[in-house]
Amino acid sequence: MLRDITIGQYFPGNSLIHRLDPRFKIVITLIYILMLFTGSNIICLAVGGVYTIAALLLSRIPFKMFWKSVKPLLPFLLLTAVLNVLLVDSGDVYFKWKFIKITAGGVNISVFMIIRIVLLIMGSSLLTYTTSPITLTDAIERLLSPLKLLRFPVHELAMMMSIALRFVPTLIEETDKIMSAQKARGAEIDTGSFVTRAKNMISILVPLFISSFRRADELATAMECRCYNGGEGRTRLRQLKASARDFIALAVTLLFYAGALTVGLLFK
C-alpha cells in the first residue's frame, strides 16, 4: 500500500537533459527561477515559456507528468487568479456590476502570475524528473564543498541524506509489515475514531523507532568495519565530469535570460 509513494519521482531515461551534469542542472534551474521572477512583463515570460517547452520536449518525458505536478496547485492558482482579477484596479474596465470590477490590469496580472507559477513548477519538476535523488544529493554536496572551508559539515550532511534515501524503501516496507501485524491483532488504523487511530499509531511508531535505532547502530558498526572515518581523504566512485554539452546548456540558458530581459525592456 505505502509502496506506491516515491520521493521526487524520478523517471530514468537517456535524453539530453538526463545526461547533463547534475551540478549544471541545479545551477541552470536556479538561473531559470531567477529569470521567471525578474521578468517584468508577459513578453519576458513568453521567452521563458519557449525555453521551458523546449527543455520539456528534450527530456522526452510525457507531458502529462508535468501536468500532474501542476494539478495539486490548481485550486491555489485559481484562487490567486480570481483575487487578482477582482482586486486590481487599473487600465480599461472590461466589466462592472455592483462592486465587482474587472479591469485590464487585473486580467493582465492574473494571467502573468498563473503563467509564472506554472512555468516555475514545470521547470523545477524537470530537475527532479531527470535527476535521481542520490545524484542530486551528490551534486549538492559538490556545489557546497567550498563551504567546508567555513567548517560547514558538508560531507556529514550529504552522508546523512544519502543514507536516508537508501533506507526510504526499506522503512516503507517495514512500516507496511508492522501495520499488517497490528491489524492482524485488531488494531484499527484506517477506521475508527480519531483517538483510536492516534492510539494505534503508537503501535506502529514505537516498533519503527526502536528498529531504526537498532538499524542505525548496526549500520554504524558495519561502516566502521569498512574503515569509515568521516570525509577526510575520501575518493569517489561516482565521477562527475563536465562536458562541452553542459557548458553549452549553461550558455543557452544565460542567453535566454539575457534575451528575456532585453525583450522585456523593448516592449515596456
Binding site: 517495514e174 508492522i178 499488517s180 491489524k183 492482524a184 491483532r185 485488531g186 484499527e188 503501535s203 528498529s211
Partner: protein
Amino acid sequence: MAILETRQLTYTYSIGSPFEKTAVDHVDLKIEEGEMVGVMGHTGSGKSTLIQHFNGLLRPTSGTVLLDGKDIWADKKSIRDVRFQVGLVFQYPEYQIFEETVFKDIAFGPRNMGLDEQEIKRRVLETAHDIGLKEELLKRSPFELSGGQKRRVAIAGVMAMEPKVLILDEPTAGLDPAGRDKIISHIKEYHKRMKNTILIVSHSMEDIAGFADKILVMNKAKLFCYDDTEKVFGRAAEISEIGLDVPQITKVFMELKRQGLDFGKEVYTVPYARDLLLKHLRGKAGAEDC
C-alpha cells in the same frame, strides 16, 4: 465441516501495470478443524500471500474465502472480527512489540476485542504459560528480554485472542536448534489444549515432519498438493523437483529404494527410521528385497 475453505482463490497485484503478477492462482482448499498443517513453498510461491487471505488482510481479486462456511467478505464491516478468529503471526514477530510491559503487549489483541479486564487477565496468564513465559516476566518491559523471549511474547499476543485458526509464518526463523524445538513443543501443547486448527509455514521439511498432520505445498502461485504428511513424503522426488529440500533421512530411504531395498513405508523422521530398521533387523523376516 471445513473450518477454512477457499474456492478458486486468486490474487493478482498491480493489475494493468507492466508489473502485473498473479501471486495466488485459483486455489481450492478445505482445511478441517483441529488439524495441524505444515505450509511449504519456495520464495515467491504465493504461500505468504495465501495466508494473508485467511485473516482478511488481503482481499481476493476473485474467488472466495470461507470461515466456518461463511464468506469472510460478505460483510466488509465485520472483517475485523475475522482477524480475531484467524490469528496470524508474521515472521520475526518480535519486531512489532510496542507496549511498556509484557502483560500489556500480550493483552493488546484481547483488548481490541473488547473483552473485560478479568477475561483479558485470564487469557494473558494462560497464554504466557502455554508459550513458556514465566509469570514474573509479565510486569517487565518486553525490550529487556532476550530475542527468543520477545518472540514468545509476540506469539502469545496472537494466541491470547484464542483464534479458531492460528497461522504462524516461520515461527522458528533465526532461532538455534534448542530454541526451535522449544517453540514447536510449546505450540504443540497449545494445540492439544485448545483443540484449534494450526498452520505453520516453514522452509524445513524436517521441522514439518515433526508436527504436521497434513502438508500444504504451494508452487508458482498454484496449489501443488494438500494431503496427509505421509502421502506428501511419498512424493518426495516431485517435491525435490519443485525446488524444496527433502529431509536427509527421506533422501537416504529414497536411495535405498532405488537400489532395491524397499521398506514399503515413507520415512521422514529419525525415530521412525530407527524403529523401522530395528524391526527389520531384529524381526523374524528379513528386509523386503525387490
